[in-house]
């Protein structure tokens, strides 16, 4: 089983020919060469800038929230503003940042290169996806400027149908963003199925691509339901549809079923790509073939499908029937297994490796730590009787921030640092990169660990005001938020500094074996100067360090010296 994915005789790479044509950044210039580009790499870069801007916006909202919570009662803003801030923090982070971040930015950039193809299957649709994202973002900003939004990102009825804020603008924005997400996912599925390079069999696909593929399945299957849910919500508000309105014989709990049928799988849209990145990072920086490739690949798809069966665990106290709660709880535990499998496999990959603590690996290790906490605390919430007191408290807030932020954001940062030399052709300052990861890690724990205790002590979420006994933990959390903000600012500064002062990146600075490192940095317009051939993406032992270029080169001789499996 192992041999067919590692070293097949004859599957060697060609040496990367010297750069003869301009790279994708220099092949053309001017505004329209970016605005109307069909190149997946440029679209990826535009997505990257977009989602980072959205993240900055959501981050500012978060800092305002944390500052407000420094003291019980009013601190800096009014209750109305607080409600708008947490709603927009949630909505911006979920719809504008986490969901499009890894697939839209990193996925767009690396997936086609990893597969050895020139572009995604539908480049126009890819560009349309980006502009839909922009359109959705505009609607969100419009909602913010015209009365705000104070429903919480979940838009629960009947609050969302009766509040006086701009629910329609925001839901329409989310509706558009849904289509952006669908287009991205659809494109990736078709690309993976029909565009792979010769030799790129299903089990030679890098695990990041498997993760993106699994994500795409959810995007295609779940997002349309969000679309119709939001349309119904708009109709409910504008036309008085009646389906969710108890006065018309409708049912507000039905809305929650609709919402979570999308939004639980959406949680896996957020975390699966992050897991894909971590698989790449752990293996590359440990210089070890990934352990249990097939288990990781199948667990991604397994998570994607199982994720559809558990939406009711968001509704244990919502008025859902006890019978359904029991069924959903039982199904929920099944999701724990594939996640655990991945963590164990990553650990086993590190075993006997040659572990470099380069910035991306620092982030990957932070991910492992934080995601373990995030995942394990999910067990409390899946257990019916324990969920009852914990539901809608800060415990839940802490749990999903450990998964979404400690998981996805940290992996996203790791991914950016990992692929940065490929995207820009520039190296960054390693020391300050590592510093940023340590500060982010510490700040993150300081922010969110106290929230577990807060939640268990009974602090409900979405509270502007709280009883004074919770204050000390809130202060810790607020201080942590600023530390976290500092860490992220340093990370951004490192990247910007690299753009201006960074030294030229070698083709393969990390010794990775996936195809994107077997082309120039940055890649040419059509990704390769030669016809790439798929091989084992984790044959890292075939990579040899060359001090003259401060990077790695493929040495076919080493294949023969493969360590015994």
């Amino acid at each position: 089983m192992a041999t067919d994915i590692s070293t097949t005789p004859g599957s060697h790479t060609q040496p990367v020919p010297p750069q003869t044509e301009p790279d994708y950044l220099h092949v053309s210039s001017g505004f329209s060469s970016w605005a109307f580009t069909l190149d997946h790499k440029r679209i990826g870069i535009m997505y990257l800038i977009g989602v980072m801007a959205a993240f900055a916006l959501g981050g500012v909202f978060a800092l305002i929230l944390r500052t407000e919570l420094l003291t019980p009662g009013p601190t800096i803003i009014s209750a109305d503003w607080y409600n708008q801030m947490f709603t927009l923090h949630g909505a911006v982070m979920v719809f504008l940042f986490i969901i499009p971040s890894i697939p839209g930015a990193l996925g767009n950039f690396v997936v086609p290169i990893m597969l050895g193809t020139k572009d995604v299957a539908f480049p126009q649709m890819n560009l349309a996806s980006f502009y839909l994202w922009v359109g959705g973002a505009i609607f969100f900003v419009a909602a913010l400027l015209t009365g705000g939004l104070d429903t919480g990102w979940t838009f629960y009825t009947p609050y969302s149908t009766t509040t006086s804020t701009s629910v329609i603008a925001a839901t329409f924005g989310a509706f558009i963003l849904g289509f952006s997400s669908i287009f991205t996912g659809l494109n990736f599925i078709v690309t993976v199925h029909t565009m792979r390079a010769p030799g790129m069999s299903w089990f030679r696909i890098p695990l990041f691509v498997w993760a993106i593929y699994a994500t795409a399945i959810i995007q295609v299957l779940a997002t349309p339901v969000l679309g119709i849910t939001l349309l119904m919500l708009i109709a409910e508000r504008a036309l008085g549809l009646g389906i969710f309105d108890p006065k018309m014989g409708g049912d507000p709990v039905l809305f929650q079923h609709f919402f979570w049928f999308y939004s639980h799988p959406a949680v896996y849209i957020m975390i699966l790509p992050a897991m894909g990145i971590i698989s790449e990072l752990i293996s590359t920086y440990s210089r070890r073939h990934i352990f249990g490739y097939r288990f990781i690949a199948f667990s991604s798809v397994g998570l994607a499908l199982l994720g559809f069966l558990v939406w009711g665990h968001h509704m244990f106290t919502s008025g859902q029937s006890p019978a359904m709660s029991v069924i959903f709880s039982a199904l929920t535990f099944s999701v724990a297994i594939p996640s655990a499998v991945k963590v164990f496999n990553w650990l086993a990959t590190m075993y006997r490796g040659s572990i470099s603590l380069a910035t991306p690996m620092c982030y990957a290790l932070a991910f492992l730590f934080l995601f373990t906490i995030g995942g394990l605390t999910g067990l409390f919430l899946g257990t019916l009787v324990v969920d009852v007191p914990l539901h809608d408290t800060y415990f839940v807030v802490a749990h999903f921030h450990y998964v979404m932020m400690g998981g996805t954001l940290i992996a996203f940062l790791g991914g950016i640092f990992h692929w940065w030399p490929k995207m820009t052709g520039k190296m960054y300052n390693e020391f300050w990169g590592q510093v940023s990861s340590v500060i982010v890690f510490l700040g993150f724990n300081l922010t969110f660990f106290p929230q577990f205790i807060l939640g268990t002590r009974g602090m409900p979420r979405r509270y502007y005001n709280y009883v004074p006994e919770f204050q000390s933990l809130h202060v810790m959390s607020t201080v942590g938020a600023y530390v976290l903000g500092l860490g992220l600012t340093i990370a951004l500064a490192v990247l910007i500094h690299s753009l201006m002062r960074g030294k030229k990146a070698p083709n393969n600075p990390w010794g990775a074996a996936t195809l994107e490192w077997q082309t120039t940095s940055p890649p040419p317009l059509y990704n390769f100067n030669y016809e790439p051939v798929g091989r084992d993406p984790y044959a890292l032992h075939e990579m040899e360090y060359d001090a003259s270029i401060d990077g790695y080169k493929h040495n076919p001789e080493l294949a023969k010296l493969a360590p015994a499996h």
């Binding site: 299957l221 108890p246 006065k247 014989g249 039905l254 079923h257 049928f261 069966l309 029937s321 359904m324």
Partner: protein
Amino acid sequence: MAHSHHDEGHGHGHHGFAHVMPVPLLLTVFFVLLGLTWVTTWVSANVPLGSYELIVSMGIASVKAGLVMAFFMHMIHEKPFNIAIVFFSLVFVALFVGFTLHDKFEYKDQETEAVYDQIRLEQAK
């Protein structure tokens, strides 16, 4: 998912990868569909089926849907994977309907007219 493997089975002659549907087949399918539409409308207007009505009319609709998918949408010549994704999407629809409906059945008795009346009356004041 290699393409060459899947296409070999069908033998597509000089039309490359196209699967051409014969005209008589298309016409037959159309007239059958039209007939089924007439049947379902007629039954609805003239035969009191009571609680079976739902089953009968949805059954006829599903037969029609099957015919359209198989012949008009060329599913009989489609790649197994493409058929599978449509099938799986229906599985997910079934999950969605099934779980939600089951939940609603469990608690719908908690919704009483009295609640509506109370709310209505209080709002009337």
